[in-house]
């Protein structure tokens, strides 16, 4: 009986010789990522344990990204609490002062901290993003973070795995975001609760690393615990410049057991959006085309990467955005920001009338740099469109690809990018 990728990595991090789905096991954690939650509930909970150490200060990655730089006094105080904790427990990878770095889920992989075969947890539900790098990664709450800080271990329920076999390539104007939204719409926001999604096939290999990250990022919107890609040359090329640490590529056994198999031909995917107020509320672009928007946002851990900025620049080049619409663009990291600067994308964005912000989660959680007012409508490249997510509870968010966001900013209404590319 063979194993899936998730099962193989879980076994490697346990002291067991065999495991099966549904079983509860203890695993050793390779790395834990924490952000502002450290100054939220984590530091208060951890102090209750009355210990003066963390299990391994070298296996903690700490960065501030949600409210950066602090837009309010309360956020500034939260940042102070975070930094105090990181210093008290002597975190090695402490980026609490480097507010220029960017969003955790972009910066951590860029710095080579997510490598094949690793088991990573983080104080953020979109920790699943690192599955694009052939490792197991998932989000946990503040108390679980405290348990890992103290012991380096965590219990897991071995998940059943879904195999998603992808073939073909996207047509012009279609992106990984359209694929993952389509998948969530098909299986629903509860369709993969507790499951590990494994992406297989030539179609997956055809995707860029940026595109894979978008898909792994949003598997949690279908309830999944992991969203993991197979290793290939593209991944190894990416890693060469990022890490000198050894790693072991993990592939599933031929006779691995999958609870469900879904097949997608990427050439059949078309632009879609998630209508308010649920990421599973999917509609084809033709159904929502023409809906007037107040704001367009391009950024976040889901879609703030070079691939996303490049397609937006292609659409915006030489054009002005609609005069009654605001466009906010936030690169996911400083590395991306500077690359976009060198490529001339920033000039295109600014000339078109976009506001370009510093690297932060910002508007995605209604934090700052583009909060929505009452009854405003936003088309956004982010991951959640819950009621009040980006501001006032009467505002509405449509989730879409960077191409749809850019095309919509041009027209002042939701638009099909295939018509402007």
């Amino acid at each position: 009986m063979g194993y899936t990728i998730a099962e193989k990595i879980l076994i490697n991090h346990s002291n067991l010789k065999s495991i099966s789905p549904g079983q509860f096991i203890d695993c050793n954690i390779d790395l834990i990522m924490v952000h502002e939650q450290l100054g939220g509930r984590i530091h208060k909970e951890y102090e209750k344990l009355e210990i003066d150490y963390v299990w391994d200060p070298n296996k903690i990655f700490f960065i501030l990204d949600h409210w950066v730089p602090a837009p309010t006094i309360s956020a500034a105080q939260m940042h102070q609490d975070c930094r105090k904790f990181a210093e008290k427990y002597k975190f090695i990878h402490n980026f609490g002062y480097q507010l220029d770095k960017g969003i955790c889920h972009q910066v951590l992989p860029e710095m080579g901290f997510s490598r094949p075969g690793m088991l990573i947890v983080g104080s953020d539900s979109h920790t699943t993003t690192y599955g694009a790098f052939n490792c197991l990664a998932t989000g946990i709450g503040a108390t679980d973070v405290s348990v890992v800080f103290a012991t380096g271990k965590l219990w897991f329920r071995v998940p059943e795995s879904f195999q998603i076999i992808m073939s073909g390539k996207f047509n012009k104007g279609v992106m990984s975001k359209d694929f993952i939204l389509t998948l969530i719409g098909n299986i629903s926001t509860k369709g993969a609760i507790y499951k590990s999604l494994e992406f297989h096939g030539q179609g997956a290999k055809n995707l860029s690393i940026d595109g894979r990250m978008t898909i792994s990022n949003m598997v949690v919107e279908a309830g999944a615990k992991f969203g993991i890609f197979q290793p290939d040359n593209k991944l190894e090329t990416w890693l060469v410049n990022r890490t000198k640490e050894p790693y072991k590529l993990v592939t599933p056994d031929n006779d691995a057991n999958y609870e469900n198999t879904l097949e997608y031909n990427l050439s059949e995917i078309t632009p879609v959006v998630a209508k308010p107020s649920n990421p599973g509320n999917i509609a084809g672009i033709e159904e929502v085309e023409g809906i007037e928007i107040d704001q367009a946002f391009l950024g976040s851990c889901t879609n703030g990467r070079m691939e996303d900025l490049r397609i937006a620049a292609k659409i915006l080049k030489g054009n002005n955005i609609d005069p009654n619409t605001r466009l906010i663009i936030i690169p996911a990291s400083k590395e991306i920001y500077m690359e976009a600067l060198r490529e001339g994308l920033m000039e295109i964005f600014l000339s078109a009338g976009a506001v370009v912000g510093n690297c932060t989660c910002g508007p995605c959680i209604g934090g700052h740099l583009g909060v929505l007012g009452s009854e405003e409508v936003c088309i956004s490249s982010t991951n959640r469109n819950f009621k009040g997510r980006m501001g006032d509870p009467t505002s509405e968010v449509y989730l879409a690809s960077p191409a749809v966001v850019a095309a919509s900013a041009l027209k002042g209404r939701i638009a099909d990018p295939r018509e402007v590319l």
């Binding site: 509930r41 909970e45 105080q77 108390t143 679980d144 103290a150 509870p393």
Partner: protein, 166 residues
Amino acid sequence: MIEKIDGFAYILGDDINTDDIVPSHTLTMRDVDEMAKCTLEFIDPTFAKNSAQGNIIIAGDNFGTGSSREEAVYVFKVLGIKAIIAKSFARIYFRNLINLGIPGIIVSWNESIFSKGDNLEISLNEGVITNKTKGVKIEFEKLPNFLTKILEEGGILNQLKKTLKG
């Protein structure tokens, strides 16, 4: 052994997400009582004030979907919520519930089984919910032993503290 839980039903629908429970604007608040006042504010602004009359939450599918923010469990603890019964839970939310010592119970239900204000008694040891108002008993699959032990300790950190000292 955990004593029987006695309380009153408060009904919610499917896909109640963590932003519904604690909106993002509350997350930088340092005073948890202030944060707890905003619990479910976009769905029912009176919820926090009346939580004693609805201290067992009955929800539909995918309860707690969304963020890892543990505040979405903690505010319920602050408000004295005794248990959450749902058709299904989001993964991180379920862990957070048990970790903070609030039982999460998975039950398939409809309006003939639970309505707002029903007086319920939950026995975790027997795996039975008694709806005293409607006079019906509902069985559920008991939690694995190691999770029940976490609940008995009042949360995983209480348990861990003992282990670290032992």
